[in-house]
């Protein structure tokens, strides 16, 4: 078997992976693919996210299944695989006694970057992460946010094509959180990195990820593009605008077009059912007419999406129901 990383190969591919810790099954037949771009991995506590990350790095022995990272088996070629991966672990991890810049430089040197170059590169990525002068202080004195920045810088210092982040926005204030998400988008869009984002913060996933995987009780419950996952059961469009939106909803309902007022994180909006035959322009014309009539200024008219949170909770309930049913029907 070849031991060279293939740039054409799928960044991460798992097939029917089973991992058990004693009698507890952490991963139960997980099959998934992580394509280039940003993929979110969401799941409740104990879903198996951290085990999945360790599986990708070849740190745990599997009961069965097949894992490939850029075409390589991480169990057989851990060094080559880890050379291609940058990891921001969920748990705070530091080497006691080092400063911020010392830590990033150390991470670079562990990945094979020569000492002088490692220092230059460490400063470069810390600058990009906006670490400031705090980098010269010992790690133990850092705030949670600064630690996250340093951990992120240490993960990308060797320019890996695959970046795995476990709760990277933990402890960041809203401005820093936005900046961190912006950096991830830059890495994926401008530098072609594959980013695998494990998080509980579903709005983050919805905001920057192209695809999402929902993991619960060691199984993949949902997987697909964000657009697919958040598409409502019936075709709907969302109208955002200024003025009495509730009057617009009433007016549309009175004329026989199914419409309702909803609250979104961007404010109130009206969701309008779109006919299945796809005559969206006709609906848009009707909405504009009614809006003018009730004094609403239409700002946007776009396909409605369900919040990822709603999708996530629904899938967990479904998973729970399936599990209960399996337990009931299991032989004693």
């Amino acid at each position: 078997m070849h031991d060279a990383v293939s740039s054409d190969a799928c960044p991460v591919e798992l097939e029917n992976v089973v991992k058990r810790y004693g009698t507890r099954t952490a991963l139960d037949g997980v099959s998934l693919k992580v394509e280039p771009g940003i993929t979110g991995l969401v799941g409740p506590n104990g879903a198996g996210k951290s085990t999945l990350v360790r599986t990708v790095l070849g740190l745990v022995k599997l009961a069965s299944g097949r894992v490939r990272v850029f075409g390589l088996d991480p169990q057989r070629f851990p060094r080559q695989v880890r050379q291609q991966v940058g990891v921001v672990p969920e748990d705070e991890s530091s080497v006691p006694g080092l400063t911020g810049v010392g830590m990033v430089r150390y991470a670079a040197r562990l990945c094979g970057i020569p000492a002088g170059e490692a220092l230059r590169r460490a400063h470069e990525v810390l600058d990009w992460c906006d670490a400031g002068q705090e980098r010269y202080r010992p790690l133990e004195t850092f705030s949670v946010g600064t630690r996250q920045k340093v951990a992120f810088a240490a993960a990308i210092v060797h320019d890996p094509p695959l970046i795995i982040l476990d709760e990277p926005t933990n402890g960041l204030d809203p401005i820093e959180r936005k900046a961190m998400l912006g950096r991830l988008v830059t890495l994926a869009r401008d530098h072609g990195k594959t980013i695998f984002l494990c998080t509980h913060v579903l709005p983050d996933v919805q905001a920057i990820c192209e695809r999402a995987i929902v993991l619960a009780a060691g199984r993949v419950r949902l997987s697909g593009s964000i657009e697919e996952l958040t598409r409502p059961a019936l075709p709907m469009h969302r109208v955002e605008g200024t003025g009495p939106l509730e009057h617009l909803a009433d007016s549309l309902s009175a004329s026989g077009i199914a419409a309702s007022l909803v609250r979104t994180n961007r404010g109130p909006a009206v969701e309008v059912a779109t006919p299945l035959d796809g005559d969206t322009p006709a609906v848009l014309r009707a909405v504009c007419e009614h809006a003018r009539h009730v004094g609403v200024g239409v700002r946007s008219f776009e396909p409605a999406q369900r919040p990822l949170e709603e999708v996530f909770i629904a899938s967990l309930r479904e998973a729970q129901a399936v599990q209960t049913s399996e337990e009931l029907h299991a032989p004693a």
Partner: protein, 380 residues
């Protein structure tokens, strides 16, 4: 955005070969350990015995240069110390006064005899230096450094930093072991080599360096004998707990308890084999008993006595011909016996094999524990 922020840039430089991570872990570990003021003080203190030994080298070479070697031998025959360097002088005198069985016949005062005597005295001095003060000081210095090496990494979850990068378990263990090996080198190899160099510098001819070139190699080999089991044992203790205090306590307790056990067993054995309290005992046995029971040996202060009881240093120099049957119980004594074998002062298999087996067992068990423990948190 700061002016110097050039944004994210790809890096396509040449990477160092696989396995260089061990060297990175080692160098960083040494730099971090050296920041400890206590370690710097301890290493400085550990060098102090070398000064006393250097004086002995100087005194010996001075006697050789002044042609007083024959007189020294007579002094030895008379059981006197020489040149005022009392403790170490005693060692030299006993060396001179106890020619080995395989000593060839030389013309008195010939160059061959001087070379032979020099090698004998230097070897014993270096062995005594490594066995007596340095082995004890080494245990102290390792006890300051080793307990934190892995336990602190485990507490700070630094294993995530290592094992999510291209660092294997072997790299990690090698790197951490190299930190301690560096400490061992600082405490034993460097002063040992320094002593040999001092001997060469104060000797009458530079040819002495070529005549004794095997001694620095023996110093390094003897350091390996002490380094392997001690480093692995210390790392194993550090790997089994996240509390470095507990690892430190276990380390010192092992040395102390095994030393006490060795002394107790040795004393018990001597008492059991004591045929007649009134009978004259061999001087080595008498010295051992005196030391074991802390009583002054008979005749102490009588500088004309022919066979003086062995001092700690003299025994460390391999002048005691009796076999220490319980050496294998104590790492300190085991290391000493095997080091004596390395220096050629102990060639009886029944004397050095049990300690060698003991040290090998300690090393193997420690290595197994270490290999199983270092990345255990990743697997759980």
């Amino acid at each position: 955005m700061p002016l110097h922020d050039v944004g994210y840039r790809a890096w396509n430089g040449e990477r160092r070969p696989p396995g260089s991570a061990a060297a990175v872990i080692a160098t960083t570990g040494i730099v971090l350990a050296w920041k400890s003021r206590w370690l710097r003080r301890a290493v400085l203190f550990a060098w102090s015995p070398a000064l006393a030994f250097a004086m002995t080298f100087f005194a010996f070479e001075q006697a050789v240069e002044e042609g007083r070697l024959g007189m020294l031998e007579m002094t030895a025959q008379a059981g006197r110390d020489f040149d005022g360097v009392d403790l170490l002088g005693g060692l030299v005198v006993q060396t001179l006064g106890r020619p080995t069985d395989d000593q060839p016949d030389f013309l008195p005062g010939s160059t061959e005899e001087v070379d032979y005597t020099r090698r004998n005295v230097w070897s014993r001095l270096l062995l005594a230096f490594m066995r007596a003060p340095q082995a004890v000081l080494l245990a102290v210095v390792i006890g300051l450094v080793a307990p934190t090496l892995i336990s602190r990494d485990m507490r700070a979850k630094a294993w995530l930093t290592y094992f999510t990068r291209p660092v294997s378990r072997r790299d990690y263990i090698l790197g951490k072991a190299a930190v301690l090996a560096g400490v061992v080198a600082m405490v034993t190899v460097l002063p040992g080599l320094g002593l040999w160099l001092v001997g060469v510098l104060v000797s009458p001819s530079v040819n002495v360096a070529f005549a004794t070139i095997d001694l620095p190699l023996k110093v390094m080999a003897a350091s390996v004998v002490v380094a392997v089991p001690t480093v692995l044992l210390a790392l194993a203790y550090s790997a089994v707990t996240t509390e470095s205090r507990i690892a430190g306590f276990a380390w010192f307790a092992t040395w102390a308890a095994c030393w006490i056990a060795h002394s107790a067993l040795g004393a018990a054995e001597l008492m059991a084999h004591q045929p007649d309290p009134d009978a004259e005992q061999p001087p080595e046995v008498r010295g051992f008993l005196d030391e074991a029971f802390g009583r002054p040996p008979p005749g102490r202060g009588d500088r004309h006595e022919r066979d003086r009881p062995m001092s700690w240093l003299a025994r460390a120099a391999g002048l005691d011909s009796s076999i220490d049957t319980w050496a294998w119980v104590s790492p300190y004594h085991s290391v000493g016996v095997v080091q004596a074998a390395v220096f050629g002062m102990e060639q009886r298999p029944q004397a050095f094999l049990p300690p060698l087996i003991s040290l090998t067992s300690i090393s193997v068990i420690s290595l197994v524990v270490l290999v199983r423990r270092v990345d255990a948190p990743m697997r759980s």
